[in-house]
């Protein structure tokens, strides 16, 4: 049975040999073999028609005025991008989104690292804990927003009731939509809840590759556990941390479901992807929506490359 362990088998695309057994007689000359093309045709059609062509649309039409209510499509130069900079809702949402990214990437990485270390060495029931752990990852973000709205509710919510029960305060102070930083932090907590399982798994997988002898040697040399963590665990976890941070970066930069369902269009929590939606599908200004999509995409790719550049290190044993 091929074990589905993927970790050691990641990366390189193996140059597969042809399916023809080497001992069988080959037809002379290079006969054209249509079968592989037939096999890849459906996927290719999907990818060209519904991924590459639409992406080209986004890039090209960013520079055009595309307004369903005001045709035809006209060239607009950088007009859409300039309009975005003058759009106060977009600028304020960009600030919110920066906060989502900082809080989300930071918190999910730290939490994921901590949980991965807690699960690093086998113990009874670890498999069960991992099963429970991935639960938040598997649920729809928008429904998680609904679940957490019950936690944040000013009157009946869990947080405010806990504060009241433990006599830490009046128990109505934690609520969405008033203070920007608090609103963004609470909404991002919901996304962190969803992202952390994958972060944990990626780091956990990297930690499983660390040979136990390294820790034994460190122990014999009199290294403290903190020392072993800094000198062994952390460097060995770097590939996993890098991949996890890129995933978190993409998710937070493109956050939509959680603020949309928890805080509506309010400026205290709106994200740039929400503005793309409002501009395109409420104001029907597709050109400007394209431009904002393109900016978000470019920033996402640029920051992802930056994370890979500075965090990723190949581990050699």
């Amino acid at each position: 049975m091929p074990r589905a362990n993927g970790v050691e088998r990641g990366g390189e695309v193996e140059v597969g040999r042809s399916l023809r057994p080497t001992s069988a007689p080959r037809p002379r000359g290079r006969r054209f073999d249509a079968l592989p093309y037939v096999l890849i045709a459906p996927v290719s059609i999907f990818i060209i028609g519904l991924a590459l062509v639409p992406a080209a649309f986004t890039i090209i039409e960013s520079f055009f005025t595309v307004d369903e209510l005001n045709p035809p499509v006209r060239f607009n130069g950088l007009g859409n991008f300039v309009a975005l900079l003058r759009n106060e809702a977009v600028v304020s949402s960009a600030g919110n989104t920066a906060l989502y990214v900082l809080i989300g990437v930071g918190l999910s990485t730290v939490l994921g690292m901590a949980i991965a270390v807690a699960l690093q060495h086998p113990f009874r029931g670890r498999g069960l804990i991992i099963a429970v752990l991935i639960l938040p990852w598997a649920l729809p973000g928008v429904v998680e927003g609904i679940l957490w709205s019950g936690i944040f509710e000013p009157n009946a919510g869990l947080i405010n009731n806990l504060i009241a029960t433990l006599h830490l305060g009046a128990g109505n102070g934690v609520l969405l939509g008033q203070d920007r930083l608090l609103t963004v932090a609470l909404i991002e907590l919901v996304q962190v809840w969803q992202m952390t399982p994958l972060t944990t798994l990626l780091i956990f997988a990297a930690l499983q590759l660390i040979p136990g002898e390294l820790y034994e040697a460190a122990q014999i040399d009199g290294a403290s556990r903190w020392r072993s963590f800094l000198s062994i665990t952390l460097p060995m976890a770097r590939p996993g941390i890098a991949v996890a941070m890129v995933q978190a970066l993409i998710a937070t930069l493109n956050i939509f479901d959680q603020p949309y369902v928890l805080n509506g269009a309010a400026s205290t929590g709106a994200s740039v992807t929400m503005q793309t939606y409002f501009i395109s599908f409420q104001n029907l200004n597709f050109g400007e929506g394209y431009a904002l999509s393109l900016v978000i995409a470019l920033v996402t790719v640029a920051l992802s490359l930056l994370v890979v550049r500075f965090v990723y290190r190949k581990v050699e044993l």
Binding site: A4, L19, L50
Partner: protein, 278 residues
């Protein structure tokens, strides 16, 4: 190996479990209460007089909200099931070709397919809406399924490719020498061996489809095709549905993915690691 017992283990495991399930517990608790019990201060941390009235109302009631919820449950099952079946079938064929055949342009097409995974998630939202709109596929199952499939194919192809590559060539060569056709070899020998990968891919695709929100929000504007996720968000936005009923709807919406995650977690963990490790 270190055999020292970790005094912190019980504490950390408790915190991990609490962190993972408390939000779900709170919604489940609320869904089993009457509205006045749920709003009581100080709060009841456990439902003192549990009732299934909210679930009965959603699954059996005749109000617009209940009918809508039931219809959107049917929609989400159809859309996720169809998207998963099509994605896995097409990805398996292509992944096999990429893993085992030599042909002109193979690497180019393979990398082009994988490259679309690097597109940030909503880059193609507006053009896909406009394409579906011009084809008359807004508010149809076909439109939603086409968009889902196009989004999930790259990851599915990548994961399945990795499984096919790990299967020894000798098995196929033996089959070919015995006179089986190449597609017979694929169907009868390779696919059964890659079954864990196929199951992983199907489960992950299904969970991704179930979690979709912004694409169906744009592509389905009425109840004929709206999945449960979109309808629930709309109900929440109107602020007229009681929180206990909303919690019950939320529990219904997470029931299927939660059961899948708990029962098949090994397949999901393996598939995720096979797909995410670069």
């Amino acid at each position: 190996m270190r055999t020292r017992r970790h005094p912190l283990r019980a504490l950390s495991v408790t915190l991990i479990v609490l962190w993972s399930i408390v939000p779900i517990y709170w919604a489940a608790k609320t869904s089993l209460q009457t509205e006045s019990a749920a709003r009581a201060r100080p709060a009841q941390y456990v439902p003192l007089q549990p009732t299934i009235a909210n679930f009965r109302s959603l699954l059996d009631g005749q109000s617009d909200v209940s009918r809508g919820i039931r219809r959107s449950m049917v929609n989400i099952v159809i859309e996720c099931g169809a998207a998963t079946a099509v994605t896995v079938a097409l990805a398996a064929l292509a992944a096999y070709a990429f893993a085992r055949f030599e042909f002109r342009g193979r690497n180019l097409v393979f990398y082009a397919v994988l490259a679309t995974m690097a597109f940030p998630p909503y880059t193609t939202l507006i053009p896909l809406y406009r394409i579906m709109s011009s084809l008359g596929l807004v508010n149809t199952y076909t439109g939603i399924v086409l968009v889902y499939v196009s989004g999930f194919l790259p990851l599915a192809t990548w994961v399945l490719h990795n499984y096919f590559v790990s299967i020894p060539h000798s098995i196929e060569e033996a089959g070919l020498i015995d006179g089986a056709g190449r597609l017979q070899v694929f169907w009868h020998l390779v696919l059964p061996l890659a079954l864990p990968g196929v199951i992983s891919t199907a489960l992950i695709t299904f969970l991704f489809a179930w979690a979709q929100f912004l694409f169906p929000l744009v592509l389905s504007t009425d109840l004929s095709t709206q999945p449960l996720t979109v309808l629930i968000a709309a109900l929440q936005g109107r602020h007229v549905v009681p929180t206990t009923l909303m919690s019950a709807a939320g529990i219904l919406a997470i029931a299927v993915p939660a059961v899948i995650a708990l029962v098949f977690n090994r397949y999901i963990v393996n598939g995720l690691l096979a797909g995410s490790t670069k």
